[in-house]
Structure formats: C-alpha cells, structure tokens
Subunit: 119 residues, 2 copies
DNA sequence: TGTATATTTGAGCAAACATTCAGATAGAGG
DNA sequence: CCTCTATCTGAATGTTTGCTCAAATATACA
C-alpha cells in the first residue's frame, strides 16, 4: 500500500500520482483569490443581513442601518466592500443613495447555502 | 418623498415601512450564524484548495499538504475546522486518514460561485 | 515492548477584520 | 453663500484568524 512513497525536500507524499492529478486540476491563483474574496464577503453576519435585505428590494443606507440595528458608518463601510467586489450597485436620488444587488448570483448563492444550513 | 421620517433614539429612518418589511423577512439569528460560518469556511484560499481537491477524490492529509504546498499541520488545522462544520468527513485506513466531502452542497456552492467569479 | 509513521493538538504570534468615533463630502433648498 | 441631511472616509482599537513550532496521539509492525 506504500509503493509510491517519496521523501525529498521534507514534503512527504503517499500517493504521488494523486498529488499530481490534484495539482493539475487545482484552481488557478486568480480563481482562488476571486472565490475567497467572494466567500469572505458573504462570511459576515452584517453583510449577510444587508445582502439578504437587498434580495427583496433596494434600500438606502440609513434604512439598512435601521433594519440591521447597526450604525450607518458600519453599514457604509460594509457597502463599500460589497461595492468594490461588484456585489451591490447604487443609484442616487438627491442626497439619498439606494443600494441593490448587482446581479442574481449572490442571491442564488445565499439561497443554496441556506438549504445546507437548514440541513 | 419624506413623509415617513422618524428620528427618535438616534436611529434615522427614511422609509419606515420598508424597514419594518426588511426586519420581518430578516434571517433568523441561527440562519445568519450558520450561513456566516459556512461562507467563512469557504472564504480562505487554503480551504478552497482543499475542498476543490476533494471534489475530485478523497485524499489523505499529507497528499493534500503536498498538493497545496502547505505544511501538514496547517492542513490538519483547516481540516479540523471543516470537519467541525461537517463539510468534510474522513475514513481511517491504518495510520492514514482519507478525507472526502461530506455531501454535495459544498461542491455545488463552489461551482456556482466560480460562475460568478468567471463573470 | 519499542520504534516509526501519519496525524492531531495547543500555545504563541503577526496579519486581517469589523466597528466606533470624529471629521470630511456632496446634493437640496433657503 | 450657508445650512441641513445622507453618506463617506481614515485612524484607532479590540477581536478573529491562519500559520508555525514543538510536543502529544494513534496505529502498524518488528
């Protein structure tokens, strides 16, 4: 069961062919970073609440803050992050900025994840 | 456009009805935490590589470490996190532990997210 | 029983992060 | 031009997180 052992360079490998196969089909650095940034953005309770609220309808910053029970500054910081990843977009009406989801992907991701969370 | 203004308790609200609607359909605390934990687990390059490799076939710890170019200790720590969230499961064969995805949800989440990342 | 191997564990540390606070913009209306 | 309001921004802070290193398990095998 140990025919393919190797030990040089301090990195132990039991199944060399499987390691090579895994490396071949690995995510590219760009894909990895893009995925990590996307999931990181979703991996926070406040941002999840923001995005979930925006699933229903567009909302302005202070309504979002009121709905979450968070400060407007905190919400604004989060929205900036979400905007930089193009997960949300906004529309100005006078002094008020209305935020909405930039596309359907995020909503689908959250709904799919909810299925898993609910077992 | 400002008929529903309110200002008490320092929390400004422009559209009171929309805020109430958002609160009504908000995620429960449990859902929020479950989702955040799940997405947080996916929001890391190393864990993504591990999970992506496991979408193809089960692998043991040191092969995973070799495929990622990471230390076995680091991989083991990540696997413990993933195991605690029931995202991966393992099978022992002698001294060697083979890890696999616990179910199809994670793979589907990553594939869906990849679609978004690839624009 | 003793050694070797695969993996786990815990402490410690540096980097990344979320929130707060105070102050800066930017549009609306007088 | 001045003020008000909605939002943004940057610095500071306390917390979380991912890694490393050293040491502990656990199983196989002599």
């Amino acid at each position: 069961m140990r025919e393919e052992r190797e030990d040089r360079c301090g990195s132990r490998v039991i199944h060399r062919d499987l390691v090579e196969a895994a490396k071949d089909s690995a995510l590219s650095a760009g894909e990895r970073e893009g995925l990590a940034d996307l999931f990181k953005a979703l991996g926070d309770g406040s941002r999840l609440q923001i995005l979930w609220a925006l699933t229903q309808r567009e909302l302005c910053v202070c309504d979002l803050a009121a709905a979450l029970g968070a400060s407007e500054s905190a919400v604004s910081h989060q929205l900036r992050l979400l905007r930089s990843l193009r997960l949300v977009a906004n529309r100005r009406e006078g002094v008020v900025l209305y935020y909405r989801l930039a596309d359907e992907h995020v909503a689908r991701l959250i709904r799919l994840a909810l299925e898993h969370v609910r077992e």
